[in-house]
Assembly symmetry: C2
Homo-oligomer: 193 residues x 2
DNA sequence: GTAATTTTGAAACGTTCATTTCAATTAAGA
DNA sequence: TCTTAATTGAAATGAACGTTTCAAAATTAC
């Protein structure tokens, strides 16, 4: 029987994520990935197929991490308001700890590649659909519980929240003032009440 | 005395803007720019110094165009509410006519380059400062006229609007449903009333 | 220990990258 | 018309690009 994959796939993906996140897809070279992962060039091609293949895995890895974080916070919450607040808190925390102003990998990738790579466009459509569905569900529950108003449909509020998250991710690249960001989020979320 | 520049600088910048907007900075090659502008390689280096130099001019050109559009709409408006509405209408119009989902050149560049190129970071800081100052001024006037509420300071509302604009620019890459976008904007702007 | 099969390392693939070079061309002022 | 200086075209620069190749090393099952 053959030799088996020796490296930790997650560790490699973590390292690759850091590079892609810092330099963007087009700004990252295969050499950067070889250096960061300490994997051999051939091993990368063996395991990930291509630069784009590796990037897709990185994107999923990054997204899964967010979904897990959000999932945990949601089960800890007692109502829809707390859930939404907890979700936004995750993003603020990431902004405040992102010392090199990288922004969000998914937002960055969306703006860089949606119009260039069909597979990225599909990923982003799925990402949007899933995020909207999650938010819509929370909003709907919040409206049932009379915590949120019913001036808009759950879908429209979900779209508003999704848009706000992306906006905050962009603003957070240059503005990392905690007080201003938290106030900003309160302004965003007050719309629901 | 010497021969003078024969090409129209604005026409060249227009063509270069289209390329950078479509492919991003790192995705654009000098050959792309030579092809698009029909300028010779040497002429580009003569007139713009470098790829980054040309890109900076493109960025200013693109930004100036927006400032002019907004300026015109502002003088046509009768109050703060109309001004803000007109500004957002410009962005919605651009989203709806952006058939290849390029998004906003400035937002794209911010997410791609702020953490890589100091000169881009400076540009974006200036862009943010100017945009916030403009919005703050409008909000302040709106509050004086009792058109807008005073739950937040003009600066905080400006930051909220600036963030919303960036968010809408990101959402608009994949979602080009006019009804949903206009509803979204009403949700955003209702906060002020 | 041997056979089987994958990972690994290092080099090489051909292409494209941003930039430079430089002689030829061009057009304005004297 | 001659001088002057910039524009132009085309080729060349060397480095970096993503990807492939292939023999050597490594690891598992028998």
């Amino acid at each position: 029987m053959p030799k088996v994959e020796t490296f930790s796939r997650n560790e490699v993906l973590q390292k690759a994520t850091e590079v892609f996140h810092t330099k963007g897809y087009n700004g990252t070279s295969m050499q950067d990935l070889v250096d960061a992962t300490t994997l051999n060039r051939s091993s990368i091609y063996n395991s990930f197929g291509s630069k784009l293949g590796m990037f897709m895995d990185v994107l999923s890895y990054y997204y899964t991490n967010y979904k897990n974080q959000i999932g945990k916070k949601i089960v800890q919450s007692h109502n829809a308001s707390e859930m939404i607040q907890a979700i936004f808190d995750i993003y603020v925390h990431d902004i405040l700890t992102d010392n090199d102003r990288k922004g969000c990998l998914i937002v960055n990738c969306k703006s860089e590649m949606v119009n260039q790579e069909p597979i990225i466009k599909s990923f982003m459509e799925q990402n949007q659909e899933q995020t909207l569905a999650m938010l819509e569900d929370i909003v709907h529950n919040g409206q049932m519980e009379k915590i949120f108003n019913q001036k808009q449909t759950p879908y429209q509020y979900a779209l508003y929240l999704y848009t706000s998250i992306q906006g905050i991710r962009m603003t957070g690249i240059l503005n990392t003032n905690e007080k201003e960001l938290k106030n900003l989020i309160q302004t965003v979320l007050n719309v629901l009440h």
